[in-house]
């Protein structure tokens, strides 16, 4: 057992706020979320904090710990130096509701803007068939728990004025999962560039560093989408090939 000090931001947009220090005894094996619960129990029962599964699977307890977006339930106390004061804040990118809770509803609005899965017709026996090799790639994207740490970490959403033009890494992952899906028939490349703003991403990979599910957001989702945008809009050779062999651009990305 050791004594640890926390600096936790307390406040709300109407009344403002500031950091408040709390000191508690920490037991072996505790995570930051355990400590916040201990602070609620001992010092501040009105401290607002969102959590649910305590297993890194619900994505509810996202916050910034020592300046880095992280799941508080997966941040072990033994990763900090002995005697280090631990600073805990709400996410910077989204509006604060109170204390450590944010309004992340903007993300759900972004999600609604993406056209849903549009599968090709079923096989004559009424089944949809996919080969495992084709599905492996998009299954990685299904690991997303929508914690929005990548959205918080992304400097475009976090610090830039043009943020409203960029959907953010989470939704680039969703677009990639649809565009690369072996059954999907919808052409989303124009949407990727014009509505979701793929060109704004300058691939500094912070989103990938933030992902608690270790989804390789940059290399496997954003860059492949940017390359598909290059195919469509910026590569004269690909343009020439489409002219020589006209057809549905969606069919161009598939082989049989």
């Amino acid at each position: 057992m050791s004594e640890r000090t926390f600096r936790i931001w307390r406040g709300n947009p109407q009344d403002g706020g500031d950091f408040v220090e709390y000191t508690i005894d920490v037991q072996t094996g505790m995570v930051v979320l355990d400590c916040i619960h201990e602070i609620q129990k001992q010092h501040a029962p009105d401290l607002a904090c969102r959590w649910n599964c305590k297993a890194g699977k619900c994505g509810s307890c996202s916050m910034e710990i020592n300046g880095k977006p992280a799941l508080s339930c997966m941040t072990r106390m033994n990763t900090f130096e002995e005697g280090e004061t631990i600073t805990v804040q709400p996410l910077k990118t989204f509006p604060v509701i109170r204390d450590l809770t944010n309004d992340v509803s903007w993300n759900y609005q972004q999600n609604k803007r993406i056209r849903p899965f549009a599968p090709r017709p079923r096989d004559p026996d009424g089944e949809h068939r996919m080969m495992q090799e084709d599905v492996d790639r998009v299954q990685e994207f299904r690991k997303c728990i929508e914690c929005f740490l990548c959205q918080d970490m992304c400097h475009i959403l976090r610090d830039r004025e043009t943020q409203q033009n960029f959907a953010g890494p989470r939704f680039m992952v969703r677009l990639a999962s649809l565009d690369m899906h072996p059954l999907d028939t919808d052409d989303r490349i124009q949407e990727v560039r014009d509505e979701s703003g793929s060109g704004l991403c300058n691939i500094t990979r912070c989103c990938t560093e933030a992902c608690p599910e270790h989804i390789n957001i940059t290399d496997n989702a954003i860059i492949p989408l940017k390359e598909r945008v290059v195919d469509r809009f910026y590569d004269p050779l690909m343009w020439l090939m489409r002219k020589l062999k006209p057809g549905n651009s969606r069919e161009k990305t598939t082989v049989e």
């Binding site: 977006p69 990118t93 475009i156 072996p182 691939i203 290399d219 590569d235 082989v255």
Partner: protein, 324 residues
């Protein structure tokens, strides 16, 4: 604390120039991280800067790039040669043979205003290709956006430039040329591979003596190998690992497809190559730095052998001749 009111602010957080909610900072290069985040960008800047200084010096030097049978990768493929003017230029190795006297005269007139006699280095015709490939590489873009322009310098570190952010739109649409740079980079792997093969063949004259610059084409070639051959072949391996792990290559070779498998469930060559490329792609940063260092070392090794600073151990029972 500022109370947010506009539509944008209610959807997002506070904007730059306003006091952030949640105790966050917003001034350039500020962060609430407690780890030494500056080390990564500084090391990148140091590594990059060292390479740029070295390669610029060696390209402008225009000397000591061939020590039989080794040709520096900075000068490969050798476009032209001028043994009378530059030391270490093998005519038989040059694509266009000797540099025409008129071209040399024209160049000297062009640079007459310079205080230094700048040589018309064959490297000028070569380095634009690897430079454009690395300059538009997805890994290096991250590296220099972070370490050179601070956009941002580190994750959750506030960006240096506080103006309107355009990302890779408008002027930086030029980054989309990476695909074309990749085509040339792939060609260079084969060219450097051929140089690796040539590094096993020592040029000799009719008497069996080592070839020297200005002595015309060699009479024959003697098979063997030296430390320089190993250095040059490793260069091809590392550059190949970097080039064939390229994101654009990965896309063109199979990533653009949504279905690798046929309706019978069989996957073809595209899938196999895409899988191998994906393995390299996961190590793209590693190969980017190893190949950057090794191509520099390969050139330095040949430069050092040219000047007699080191002796190339080889099977030709003689030290590699300095192409003077």
């Amino acid at each position: 604390m500022t109370t947010t009111t506009s539509a944008t602010e209610s959807r997002f957080g506070p904007r730059q120039g306003q006091k952030p909610q949640g105790g966050h900072v917003s001034a350039p290069l500020t962060t609430q991280r407690s780890d030494p985040w500056q080390i990564g960008p500084l090391l990148t800047l140091l590594g990059f800067g060292s390479f740029v200084v070295y390669v610029t010096f060696r390209a402008f030097q225009g000397l000591d790039y061939y020590s039989a049978p080794y040709l520096s990768p900075f000068y490969s493929p050798l476009v032209y040669a001028n043994p009378e003017y530059y030391s270490g230029s093998p005519t038989f190795h040059a694509l266009l043979g000797n540099l025409p006297a008129e071209a040399l005269t024209m160049w000297q007139q062009m640079i007459a205003w310079l205080p230094l006699a700048l040589p018309l280095s064959p490297a000028f015709f070569i380095l634009i290709f690897p430079a454009s490939f690395r300059g538009t590489c997805y890994y290096y873009r991250k590296a220099y956006y972070r370490s050179v322009v601070g956009s941002p310098a580190g994750c959750t570190v506030c960006p240096i430039a506080q103006g309107t952010y355009q990302g890779e739109t408008r002027l930086l649409l030029i980054q989309n040329l990476h695909r074309y740079a990749m085509y040339f980079a792939v060609a260079f792997i084969f060219i450097l591979g051929y140089d690796g093969w040539l590094s096993l063949w020592m040029p000799v004259d009719a008497q069996g003596a080592s070839w020297v610059a200005g002595g015309g084409d060699p009479a024959t070639y003697q098979f063997g190998f030296g430390v320089g051959s190993v250095v040059m072949m490793l260069n091809v391996v590392f550059l190949g690992g970097y080039t064939f792990g390229c994101h654009s290559w990965r896309h063109m070779i199979g990533g653009r497809l949504n279905r690798f498998a046929s309706s019978s469930g069989e996957t073809g060559l595209s899938y196999a190559v895409w899988k191998m490329t994906s393995w390299l792609n996961e190590r793209h940063m590693l190969f980017a730095w190893v190949s950057l260092f090794w191509v520099m070392f390969t050139d330095f090794y040949i430069w050092a052998v040219c000047n007699g600073w080191i002796t190339d151990l080889n099977s030709w029972s003689q030290t590699a001749a300095i192409g003077q």
